[in-house]
């Protein structure tokens, strides 16, 4: 019973968050210089008929609350995010849709590599806490954590692309390059540095998180018991400490996902990687607010979903959460 209420609460929370994002987006929409129709009016290619259509669509001749809000929320839920100013009035959803793939590729792979490496580094430094290796590892993690993503990317280009010439400096493929397997290799060569940049930025964060939870777990009684039983260090770390220490890392990683995505967007600018980040910068330069809002909404919804997933995963791994015993 309690578990079911917990589950309902989580889902309700996620929906409430998304609703809040929608309202925030709506307020921004009205706040921005030139309401939707005035924004359209700035674009000389928009006809009077289209203006009139927009007026009816957003309910602009009706009061802001509740009519316009309902019109906006209704349109957004049905997948109508409005039209891009810069891309000649194309639908925001279709402009953004093309850019999701490249972003997912580098953020996803970067995240996976960072999780593996960060967990390894964090477990090692936490296990050897206070010793020389821990000091060096922790300082390294702190430095990686403090480097702006775009700076890391610029340094990697200077070193590996320009000076050493091992990898291409920017773009996603060589123009007019080969297809098939050769093309895939070409894509990976272009993706290598952006992925490395994101991974480097995240490793520090995961390592610091895991180090503190491993160090905390080391103080627990069950570790002492395991030691007393004569288990080898490796068994204690893998079988007893990590399963417990990984839990907070999972949640905190999910909470930080939004922050991570923001930083990852700048990586694309450095590498001219044609994803959501580059799109965001272009939209910013041409004041293409519908695109910006679409990106914000898309990222918000994905982050909320990530958190919901992490919560469900957490409750599977640690039943105390579901039954309200923890905290």
């Amino acid at each position: 019973m309690k578990a079911r209420r917990w589950l309902l609460g989580r889902f309700g929370g996620a929906i409430a968050t998304i609703l809040m994002v929608l309202i925030l987006n709506f307020v921004l929409f009205r706040l921005m210089p030139g309401s939707p129709d005035r924004a359209l009016a700035r674009n000389p290619r928009v006809s009077a008929a289209a203006m009139e259509a927009a007026r009816v669509r957003w309910g602009l001749d009706k009061p802001i609350f509740p009519d316009q809000l309902i019109a906006y929320v209704g349109a957004t839920i049905t997948g109508d995010f409005g039209y891009s100013v810069k891309y000649g009035g194309r639908e925001v959803t279709s402009v953004i849709g093309e850019k999701i793939g490249p972003t997912l590729l580098i953020v996803g792979l970067g995240e996976l590599i960072a999780l593996a490496a960060g967990i390894a580094l964090g477990a090692w430094t936490g296990w050897r806490r206070g010793r020389f290796g821990d000091r060096v590892g922790t300082l390294g993690a702190l430095i990686l954590y403090s480097m702006p993503y775009f700076w890391t990317g610029m340094l990697l280009i200077t070193l590996f692309a320009t000076t050493l010439g091992w990898l291409p400096t920017s773009g996603i493929t060589t123009p007019g390059g080969p297809g098939g397997i050769q093309g895939a290799i070409d894509l990976l060569r272009h993706a290598a540095l952006p992925i490395a940049t994101i991974a480097l930025g995240l490793i520090g964060q995961y390592a610091i998180l895991l180090r503190s939870s491993v160090a905390e777990a080391l103080r627990e009684g069950y570790v002492l018991t395991a030691r007393a039983k004569g288990l080898r260090d490796e068994r204690i770390l893998r079988g007893h400490i990590l399963p417990n220490a990984l839990l907070p890392t999972v949640t905190l990683a999910a909470i930080n996902a939004g922050y991570v995505i923001g930083g990852a967007l700048t990586v694309e600018i450095v590498f001219s990687w044609p994803g959501l980040g580059l799109l965001t910068q272009e939209a910013l330069q041409s004041r293409d607010y519908p695109i910006l809002q679409g990106v914000f909404l898309l990222l918000s919804v994905s982050v909320v979903m990530t958190n919901l997933l992490a919560d469900l995963l957490y409750s599977r791994l640690d039943p105390r959460v579901r039954h309200g015993a923890a905290r």
């Binding site: 403090s146 993503y149 610029m154 320009t162 939004g258 923001g262 910013l284 990222l299």
Partner: protein
Amino acid sequence: MSGSTTVTLSTRIRKRVSGGNRIMRMLLHRWDARVAIIILSLLTLSGVAPEALVGPLQTATTATADALLPPSGTHLFGTDDLGRDLLNLTVHGARISLVVGALSAAITLVIGGGIGMIAGYRGGRVDALLMRVADTFLILPTFVLALILAPILRELIGDQTEIFGIRTTLLTIVAVIGFTSWSSTARIVRSQTLSLRERTFVERARLVGLSPMRIIARHIFPNIRTVLLANGIVVIAGSILTESTLSFIGLGDPFQPSWGTILGNAQSAAAPSLGAWWFIAAPGCAILITVVACTVIGNAIDELLDRDVRVRR
């Protein structure tokens, strides 16, 4: 009788307040915190008086050197694509980066501290609602929100004026960072307030008939100051990072360049693919050093507070 109670009460509070100074003294006993404090002081110094160190800020018209010179005796950090000295730019950038970082952090602490104390002290529905909002802000990609808000705010206020010598472009960045990053501070302050609320001295103040606002100001706030300080230093680090990222994308002010603005210039001048590493190195290292120093101090205070609590128990 009631008079003597007030006296002991206030001395006890004063004793607890002096904990802040004690933490400061203990900080100076740790070598890592000492190094970080020295570095931050030097950076602050260059932020306060950049003219004294490297002369007035060079612009495209006042720059005399050739473009993209690597570091040498005359230009220790090299020059940029307009022939400006990078040492000059980086030292002047310290002022903008630190001022914007500190102001944003101040706003973050005021919003976060205020919301946290109100939520924690009032409890109930107010608490539930405020924390719901805080959680949303904690999870959301607030950086993207800042990206949208900054230009909107700028078009609303205009960017032609200065307030206290800071251009409004930078002030919009300050406001936007403050508005988007208060949630973790609110969470921390709330949990502190929750436990303070149950303490006898707060209960006594309530019985004496002080209003909630007065209790928060006189009895809650002095006791969370140290926690707020520890959080504040970490918040400054985050604000400096966010500011540099926003400026890198092009939301900074070209007339008052911060470290992020310089890196943005380096990117549009294609410094990475020209191999002009010095254009990237100086401002980037400045950001890195500042953020690491702030984080080290913040962590040290956290550890000291932690030990404090454990000892007192």
